[in-house]
Symmetry: C2
Subunit: 403 residues, 2 copies
Amino acid sequence: MEHPTRPRPAAPAARQASLREHNLALVARAVLDAAAPPSRAAVAQATGLTRPTVSTLVDRLLRARVLDELPPEQRRTAGRPAVPLVPAARTLVGMGLEVDVDFVGARVLDLAGNVVAERIDPGQLHDAPPQETLARLGEIARRLTDDVVRAGMTLAGAQLALPGLVDVHRRRLQVAPNLGWSSLDPVPLLGLPSSLDVGVANEANLAGLAQLRPADRSTTASSFLYVSGEVGIGAAVVLDRELYLGLHGWSGEIGHLPVDPNGPRCRCGATGCLEQYAGKDAILRAAGLAPSDPLAALRDLLDDGDAPALAAVGAAGRALGRALAATINLLDLDTVLLGGIYTDLAEDLRPAVRDELDARVLATPWSPTDLRAAPVADRAALTGAAQVVLRGVVDDPARFCEA
Amino acid sequence: MEHPTRPRPAAPAARQASLREHNLALVARAVLDAAAPPSRAAVAQATGLTRPTVSTLVDRLLRARVLDELPPEQRRTAGRPAVPLVPAARTLVGMGLEVDVDFVGARVLDLAGNVVAERIDPGQLHDAPPQETLARLGEIARRLTDDVVRAGMTLAGAQLALPGLVDVHRRRLQVAPNLGWSSLDPVPLLGLPSSLDVGVANEANLAGLAQLRPADRSTTASSFLYVSGEVGIGAAVVLDRELYLGLHGWSGEIGHLPVDPNGPRCRCGATGCLEQYAGKDAILRAAGLAPSDPLAALRDLLDDGDAPALAAVGAAGRALGRALAATINLLDLDTVLLGGIYTDLAEDLRPAVRDELDARVLATPWSPTDLRAAPVADRAALTGAAQVVLRGVVDDPARFCEA
DNA sequence: CGGCATAAGTTATTCCATACAACTAATGCG
DNA sequence: CGCATTAGTTGTATGGAATAACTTATGCCG
């Protein structure tokens, strides 16, 4: 059972072995989260465990191929040189899967954060039958799985990102308007071996999680609101590096926040939803482009100072700012990461969004909102999905330790 | 350090003693959450620990006066009769403190949930200087403390509920518009002995937490949105019995969700905020009453079928419904508890709120929203504040075990 | 070049919370 | 009165982690 965050606390039994598992995970996380490859002694320092304890735990993690040793480093100080520890590359890997309106794809990451294998198949998938699309994705997944297994890696699981309401506990898609899908059990349709653990989650939520680990190892905030602007608009609430999922995993449906009750009718039935102002199609249409036009066309218009395009982005920014202000008031976050098409439009959107945030966020005087482009932009959901699998490994490495 | 929920996960050290503490808390919680007083054997069953282990842990909790034994029950079945375990009454107690626009008060609860001591002082406190008001409250607190200590009880801590933006980590009040207070360190102004641990939190958040334990021991949902309608409107997000606090504890500021950008100007600077439609003063004014009129006056008008009153409540319900729909879309909750003045108005508000929820909540087809009056209505924040202290005791009973 | 300080990592021992198994205690039942 | 049954206790074993002492591998200084 892979979940975007660990399963509900439930009733935690508390035997003695839990201690070892807990500390094993603690050590693994310390190595993965470290700024530079730490020695056993440094891990002991960081975790509060003693050096002997860390040693035995590290040995176990080395045998499980969760960690790896680097050659002893040359130090300038006295003392025995440390053996730097790093997450193992190309051993345990996790697979992210995604279906979106214009592609299906899979990406395999290892614990070091490397993309080990990837395959993206573009195509217009709106209203394509789910059986067909998911079978196609399953085929890709199977091929990548074969590749990595042949290369000696162990696939720990997979996570499927879908642009819609996903029940993460039942692994069920309730509805994905932009795909034209509803009431679906997507996992069986992939046709993957049942031994492979496949979780399902919302695309924006997974993309949000991916922001926690930029490829350049720079640090992002550990709490933020990630907004994904696509045809629909989704969001992820991340607090203390944990995703807020809500009851089912449907949290973050920001696209239908009411911006103006007198506004245009939305396909959700209400009027004046955010999506009608700041959704991809809405922006393009307001800028005088067609929904099928590439985003670059809008970029060009903006760079040329085209008035309708500037007006479209301004209106989108104001609407987005209002919706974000409401969200921030409700959730008490101080960082907003602009994802999806908003990443490229960040500088164009900023003034209008800023104005609305400053005017409407109650906490502004004490905690002004940090508004920035999302650091991970390249199909972040795919990366986030794979990371969820790997997070499952790091949170319970005991599963992969035989002795 | 009392917090509405336990402090941030941070870096959990993991020594051997943690195991005992964890299991101690597990056993304590099992007894407190049980539907009927359980035996040691039943606790063992419930927790997954063995009977000998439970026995030693229970002994410790008995010595710490966290638990108590009842006289062995008469059973109809064979076997040695069980000794029922209950939370100890009148031993360890927690104090809730509250300042609101029309009263200051303190309430002391024991682990069994009994109100052990209470003192409410009504008064119009809008624009009263915080030094004075908090000193008054401190005086009450000191008197209650003396009473319970004299009666042999141990006061584990206190928690102060305030109607405003409270930074729970710094224990600081940023702003409380309805009190006319801002930028305040309230705890020192209470003048309580520094040995007493006093936390601070938002009134609506604490009232929301209180809903988890109705006095009649009936079960509420473990996840819900609690809405507190007063002069301002606040909310608490409770997921899996845990309060979502956000970064600072400012979550749940629902009162300034925009309902209609063309609506009346709000003192927050924006226009058409929820508070302008569904705040206590707004409803009373729209019903032709004065803000100072008691709620009963509105009740009478409604019962008489007074048209302006009905219209006022209808408008409030529609506005509230829209704001709640936005909140539910964002947070994925399926239960809304109406608190504050909304409790009494629940049946009057229901139709309009229902309509808006059904129309706007995306998840309605799969998870219709349960809308009901809050089960704990009698100054719930005061109760919730005391419970936060007691929760701290139950989560770490080792603090009170000497041996 | 050899002793010494220093830091990393390991080995041997102790400690302690829990599991396990066997016991005692207190009841109903035939 | 013996027996089955369930609650609770005692005594022993297990196994993680702490502690302290050790080994290893370096830089530094005379």
